[in-house]
Symmetry: C2
Subunit: 462 residues, 2 copies
């Protein structure tokens, strides 16, 4: 696992043009209007996905890497100049883009932090163009990894709901929304509690443990299943986990057992996993292979895992793919990125709110405080950044100043431990798979009264 510290980042070096056109027209607009107020935006979610009780922050490393490397290529600037929208902008804008970089400050929840609606995951303070332009990319990176880490934490809880804990491994690359998404997903899944991944790239570049078995096509490529199994075992005598459901699962188990006590295990990928795992366990045990593990895959999720373990299905490892990687019951997190305050050239702070129906935003740069004891989390308090709260821990920490990271990347194994430590501190009812009453998140009196005063001001204007 020592590679994690050495190779923590993905080489995501995409174009800054992977963004919404309006980010660039607004940039040109601010520039033309000579607006460069230092502005603070916060990234948060307004509500939990259906059936969830909490979220787990992930994606910060890629967000910081993006911000540190933000720039425009000359040919990208040339392309923008061809768009009719930009025909009327101040021509100095093009020189500005040429030297554009991110010089702001970032506060964030460490990856693996458990959080709740309206608590900022990320807070960015920079001249308005810089702070605005990064919205689309940051949302995409953080929405997705946070979705997957949160789903993985639920799967981890399910894997620990039976008499003995079991592990789960990410099998989802083929279901990811493209190859890059597969790597982002397996990174986030590991932070959320996955034990390993089948994704070899994540093994090499993120230092994650990689695991694999064999596919149906291996078995199908031989004239009979016993021949296929024998050939696999011959090549990998110490790493033989055989997929036994290509033709008939129980016959497959018997064929696997004939190879003797050296085999590591078998995998089931279809059928009734409860009865099959029991029968297969019996076949393996009777053949003198009590150490051979049973791996189960095939549309697994936290609910099915909990159900199987509650009925004492003798399963040792779950392979989880589609449901984890696409976060199938909540494939979009709905994170938003909202302007909360601006400082004008005279040093005056202007607080910003949005009052759209059911899409409110709260004003002011904020901090999240968690009241906790050894017994676990009590409640959270959302305050203005300037407030100091006794008896609670601030969750947002400063991770970037003047566009430079303040610390080396956190090893993924540490972020994973952080997640698991917090799951243990969550109130018992929040650890259930079904959604329960919301975890209490209060707002400080100062934050409440600031919001109410701005709300009244806009109503009077109107």
């Amino acid at each position: 696992m020592s590679q994690i510290a050495k190779l923590p980042l993905l080489p995501i070096q995409h174009s800054t043009l992977i963004t919404d056109l309006y980010q660039l027209t607004m940039a040109a607009g601010y520039f033309s209007q000579q607006m460069h107020q230092v502005s603070t935006f916060e990234l948060y979610v307004r509500r939990l996905p259906k059936g969830r009780n909490f979220l787990v922050a992930a994606g910060l490393e890629q967000a910081l890497s993006y911000l540190e490397n933000l720039s425009f290529l000359p040919e990208e600037i040339e392309f923008l100049r061809t768009l009719p929208e930009f025909a009327t902008v101040n021509p100095d804008f093009w020189g500005y883009l040429k030297q554009f970089k991110f010089e702001g400050e970032v506060w964030a929840l460490p990856e693996g932090t458990v959080f709740f609606p309206y608590e900022p995951i990320l807070r960015i303070t920079a001249p308005v163009i810089q702070a605005q332009l990064v919205e689309t990319w940051l949302l995409s990176l953080i929405n997705y990894q946070t979705s997957v880490a949160s789903k993985a934490a639920r799967i981890w809880l399910a894997c620990h709901s039976g008499e003995k804990p079991v592990e789960f491994v990410d099998f989802g690359a083929r279901r990811a929304h493209g190859p890059e998404a597969s790597v982002l997903a397996t990174r986030a899944a590991y932070i959320g509690g996955a034990a390993a991944t089948a994704n070899v790239y994540a093994g090499m570049h993120l230092g994650l443990p990689v695991k694999g078995t064999a596919a149906h096509s291996w078995t199908m490529a031989f004239e009979s299943e016993p021949e296929a199994f024998a050939a696999y075992h011959q090549t990998f005598p110490q790493h033989t986990t055989l997929l036994i459901d290509t033709y008939d699962t129980l016959q497959g188990a018997r064929n696997a057992a004939k190879l003797g006590p050296e085999i590591q295990g078998v995998r089931l990928d279809s059928g009734d996993f409860l009865s099959l795992s029991r029968d297969v366990r019996q076949i393996l045990d009777q053949a003198g292979l009590p150490q051979a593990k049973i791996v189960v895959s095939g549309d697994m999720n936290e609910y099915k895992i909990q159900e199987l373990l509650s009925t004492q299905a003798p399963i040792d490892v779950f392979g989880v793919g589609t449901e984890l990687t696409t976060c199938i019951d909540a494939p979009s997190l709905g994170g938003v990125y909202k302007l909360v305050e601006q400082v004008d050239p005279q040093g005056q702070t202007h607080y910003r709110v949005k009052l759209s129906s059911s899409k409110l935003s709260y004003p002011g740069a904020k901090q999240v405080w968690r009241f906790e004891s050894e017994a676990g989390f009590g409640h959270d308090l959302l305050t203005l950044q300037s407030e100091a709260i006794d008896g609670a821990n601030p969750l947002l920490t400063c991770v970037m100043q003047n566009g430079k990271r303040l610390n080396a990347p956190v090893p993924l194994s540490e972020s994973r431990s952080h997640t698991l430590a917090q799951l243990a501190l969550l109130p018992e009812n929040q650890r259930q798979l079904l959604s329960v009453e919301n975890y209490p998140v209060a707002q400080s009196p100062a934050l409440k009264s600031l919001f109410e005063s701005l709300q009244s001001a806009h109503q009077i204007e109107k």
Copy 2:
């Protein structure tokens, strides 16, 4: 749109290690067993996502680009050698990987082809290691783009369900599963019928039309909405589409209307879109701005669009994000990639099937034939590749031989036209948003009897 022909490809140049470990252990296994049979795999889906009547093929260009560039870097081979699984493989395997490339043949449905379950989207014939190794990557690329193109086609149908047709634009980058996914999604959305995208990168590199408006933060960055609107209009006098729901939508419409007849339109992003669009239309018309368009965004999907248009909501353009890009009601397509036949060194063909419960595969390299008249599609017939069928068109065409493409990439505008032409030929009931009886896909007698004979053979063995 001329750029489409010049710049059709995304520069996806990821590592070949973005794959499942078992693809590489099986490769080592085949190599160690000296198995190099020419093998045919087919990529298809077993069932339609819930509520769907058809799918639209997309992702072929990126699949071919991947196959043409397949190779291993020396440091990747070094990494694999460190994995304990490979300690016992034939050491010549490492030299084999060093010179590894894809030399096979590919048949495929052209992008934009409407298809149904069990019809191969892609058929690959190559020595078994080559044909097997590409599974994970091909599934990820084609599953995702096909999902999005299929969803987009449904949204296109909804946009054409009212009295006058309306357009939709992809707004989904921030909800994509990472930046790369946002570009894959907007490409697929365009193939499926989107008129444009907000994703600037897709404008530059795929030649797609780009469109944008402004965000809430623009309005919030000024002391009042009228100031914000005036400043935007000053910068973009010919491209002013204003977001009017930051504080109060109707007041926003009045503030926008005051800017005069030059403004292009307004966007609503929250609230009751039917009543708001009617009231906003009235405000714009009474101010003498009948040409100003109303754009609506905010969790739009095909059902909501159809509903709004059925009640004559005066909406001109829909911005569709989350639901399209994450394909929210079917975020995984469930495409599979299965071995169907192999030719041994003696030239003998061995047909392959999988008999796992509810996960059957059918044997033999196949072709899909569509019986159609000017009135539209009649039915499809799945046959062995060797069969010739009168009165129907074969849908799979050969696109790669000896690892080289046979044709230049198809311009995206052509793939989009292909989709729309086929939507017009779909049986009327298949064009409904709710799922109806399956479109008829028959199997040829030769295919049926081959499957049955293999099924019996495996049952006798057992």
